[in-house]
């Protein structure tokens, strides 16, 4: 297979799913004729027509609300919110209706839908185009929140999200959209939601990250391992909620030490939950307190200062060193 970027991988997944299942449709602002502002949905309008590739009016609440109706009535809408900074306008529907469609109707009605959105910083963008607020969605019971980190996993996880019987918020790290290409299997095999991925195995330290931070962390680990000879295990969280605590705990029981690297601000971010899960499932194996490297609890600064907010390589490296030295 050729090498693909994450944009191409997601685009391919959408093409294949729409081909395979004619109840799948895409909708959102500028997704049809324009192919989306990041070109994730390029070509779908030409191939599947205006009925299955919809440019909607400009209203996020309307988009997700209509998607729920479609999902209840036999379709599988894959919606796009142009930037996650505008997705807060969907929260009323997500929390108030989408996430509880199954539970309130005792599974008589269900909401198999996917809400995609780019998120995250580091691209010198305008206000509301850079934050990482996966916690808002993860804090909604009945909703799955997924964040891929590579072209291949984005492809597999999106297939899984579309085929999942329940609503999935699919957050795409825009910093990784075109940052690199990867050898690629386009075999239409879905990945597994609520399952972490072990990126590299190690014995001394467990590091957990996701999204664009995973790559920065991986890079730091490679150098760190070369410099110190430590053996570090890296885990890609992949699904923020419901979280795969067992894979993380299993790793920590082996290594006895852990660091979590998250782009999002600190308070009540996924790192907090990961550390709580380690407490629940592996506390007696710990040889050092679990460290977290996170954004600070400030409103996402405009881009002149965004690189001080997003965990930098030196910050991550210091956390690894301190945790190992404890």
């Amino acid at each position: 297979m050729p090498k693909l970027t994450m944009v191409q991988a997601i685009n391919l997944a959408l093409h294949q799913e729409m081909e395979r299942d004619d109840t799948v449709l895409i909708m959102g602002q500028d997704v049809a004729v324009n192919g989306g502002v990041f070109r994730l949905t390029d070509g779908l309008f030409d191939k599947f027509g205006p009925e299955r590739a919809l440019d909607t009016p400009l209203a996020e609440g309307g988009i997700i609300g209509a998607m729920l109706g479609m999902a209840i009535n036999g379709l599988k809408p894959v919606g796009e919110i142009q930037f996650s900074g505008f997705a807060y306008l969907t929260l009323a529907q997500l929390e108030g209706n989408v996430a509880r469609t199954r539970s309130r109707s005792l599974s008589k009605f269900t909401a198999p839908l996917v809400l995609r959105m780019p998120y995250g910083g580091g691209v010198r963008a305008l206000e509301h185009h850079s934050e990482s607020k996966e916690a808002y969605f993860a804090h909604t019971a009945g909703l799955k929140t997924v964040i891929p980190s590579t072209p291949q996993t984005a492809y597999r996880l999106l297939l899984a999200a579309i085929r999942d019987p329940d609503p999935v918020v699919f957050m795409e790290p825009k910093h990784s959209y075109r940052a690199f290409k990867e050898e690629f299997e386009a075999d239409e095999e879905a990945g597994e939601l609520s399952r972490c991925r072990i990126v590299r195995e190690g014995e001394d330290l467990t590091v957990v990250s996701w999204g664009a931070m995973l790559h920065r962390t991986e890079k730091v680990i490679e150098q760190f391992v070369e410099d110190t000879g430590a053996s570090v295990e890296l885990i890609d969280l992949q699904t923020i909620a419901p979280m795969d605590g067992n894979t993380i705990a299993q790793s920590v029981r082996k290594t006895g030490r852990a660091v979590v690297v998250q782009e999002a601000q600190r308070t009540l971010g996924p790192a907090s939950e990961i550390i709580a899960l380690i407490n629940d499932k592996a506390l007696m194996y710990l040889e050092a307190p679990v460290k977290r490297v996170t954004g600070f609890d400030v409103v996402m600064p405009y881009f002149a200062r965004e690189n001080f907010q997003i965990p930098s390589e030196p910050r991550i490296r210091d956390a690894l060193a301190e945790t190992l030295a404890f």
């Binding site: 602002q29 500028d30 502002v37 400009l58 309307g62 206000e127 600064p301 200062r305 030196p314």
Partner: protein, 356 residues
């Protein structure tokens, strides 16, 4: 049971300057010369500032940005119809309007260069920062207006949005609040016919945006948004009504986005160049200049003079931006709350350890 018509409505359209700059004498608001020259100066400054910002973006000196080229009359002339104490509530495509309110030219550079410091201007104290979350500013405008009224101020609010933004719930909610409260606010929609790649007919089934005012029972009209006189007159009358306790007005200004949505966008992908060519003929600056020439208050010599002044103002702004010195690394921590928060101070120390 009677079946009868219980209400009928109409929506008016106003144009004062034709496409060649000829004026409808009956409608001409007969503004004093200095006001007319001010309108032209503001529109030209907006145009030139946008052009320079585009160049700065291409050479990496600022980030992604929207420009307002072609829409200078719709925001610039409207803002010049305001009183000093009125509030300006913009979206992000009102470059000329912000200049009209007195905002320093370097503020746009700061904003698009990634600095919150560009959001505020002592020269324009009654102006809210850019609102990028579409239509979210509309209810704010209503709240400002309510507060002004309650505090006994005789001021009004001018709130801008785009055509696409009128699809958001916030837009409708805000207008309904204003209508219900008879709040002193004027809603001006810059209908530039596109919301990124989405044309009007995919945005709404309405023939006009103005007619939505009918639904909320407030005065509404459509104006030629590239006609500075029509925009000025409609806005002035609406603001006066608002200040006199007569409630809100909805103005739809028909205009056109001559360039890309933002520097990250490529309109070739979705709109016919023919359409853009057509709109070139209605350029708000050309028309207004022709009107000034006809009135014998403008000529070729004055073009050079004004261009020169505007250029040196923009040069000075660029120079200021380049040497921007108030760059406090931990500024974000200074402005989260009005009180000291211990955990945040701990985080500030960690931030400063790595910020460089």
């Amino acid at each position: 049971m009677p079946s009868k018509v219980i209400a009928r409505f109409s929506v008016s359209y106003q144009q004062i300057l034709d496409e060649k700059g000829g004026v409808d004498e009956k409608l001409d608001p007969k503004l004093p010369d200095d006001k007319l020259l001010e309108i032209y100066r503001v529109m030209l400054t907006g145009r030139r500032l946008d052009e320079r910002l585009l160049k700065m973006q291409r050479s990496g000196r600022v980030g992604t940005l929207p420009v307002s080229v072609g829409q200078e009359a719709a925001s610039g002339a409207a803002a010049l119809a305001m009183e000093d104490d009125d509030w300006f509530v913009g979206s992000y495509r009102e470059v000329a309007g912000r200049i009209a309110r007195g905002e320093e030219l370097y503020k746009s550079m700061l904003i698009y260069g990634g600095f919150e410091e560009g959001n505020i201007s002592d020269n324009a104290p009654r102006m809210l920062p850019l609102s990028i979350i579409l239509a979210s500013q509309i209810p704010h405008a209503v709240g400002l207006a309510y507060a002004a009224k309650m505090r006994g101020e005789k001021t009004a609010v001018l709130a801008f949005s785009g055509d696409g933004a009128t699809s958001e719930g916030d837009w409708h909610e805000g207008i309904n609040f204003a209508a219900t409260w008879k709040a002193p606010v004027v809603f001006l929609v810059q209908n530039n016919h596109w919301a990124i790649s989405t044309p009007l007919h995919k945005q709404m089934n309405n023939r006009t945006i103005a007619q939505r005012g009918v639904a909320y029972d407030i005065p509404c009209l459509q104006v030629d948004g590239n006609d500075a006189l029509a925009v000025y007159k409609a806005t002035k009358e609406a603001l006066d009504r608002a200040r006199n306790g007569e409630g809100p007005t909805l103005i739809e200004a028909l205009t056109y986005r001559m360039l890309m949505h933002t520097t990250a966008d490529d309109p070739k992908k979705y709109r016919p160049e023919q359409e853009t060519e057509e709109w070139k003929k209605r350029d708000p600056l050309t028309r207004f200049r022709a009107y000034l020439v006809n009135k014998r208050i403008w000529d070729g010599d004055r073009d050079g003079e004004l261009e020169e002044t505007v250029k040196s103002e923009i040069d000075a702004a660029i120079e200021y931006y380049r040497n921007y010195a108030d760059y406090k690394l931990d500024q974000p921590f200074d402005h989260q709350f009005g009180t000291i928060v211990e955990t945040l101070e701990e985080q500030r120390a960690e931030y400063l350890k790595y910020a460089r």
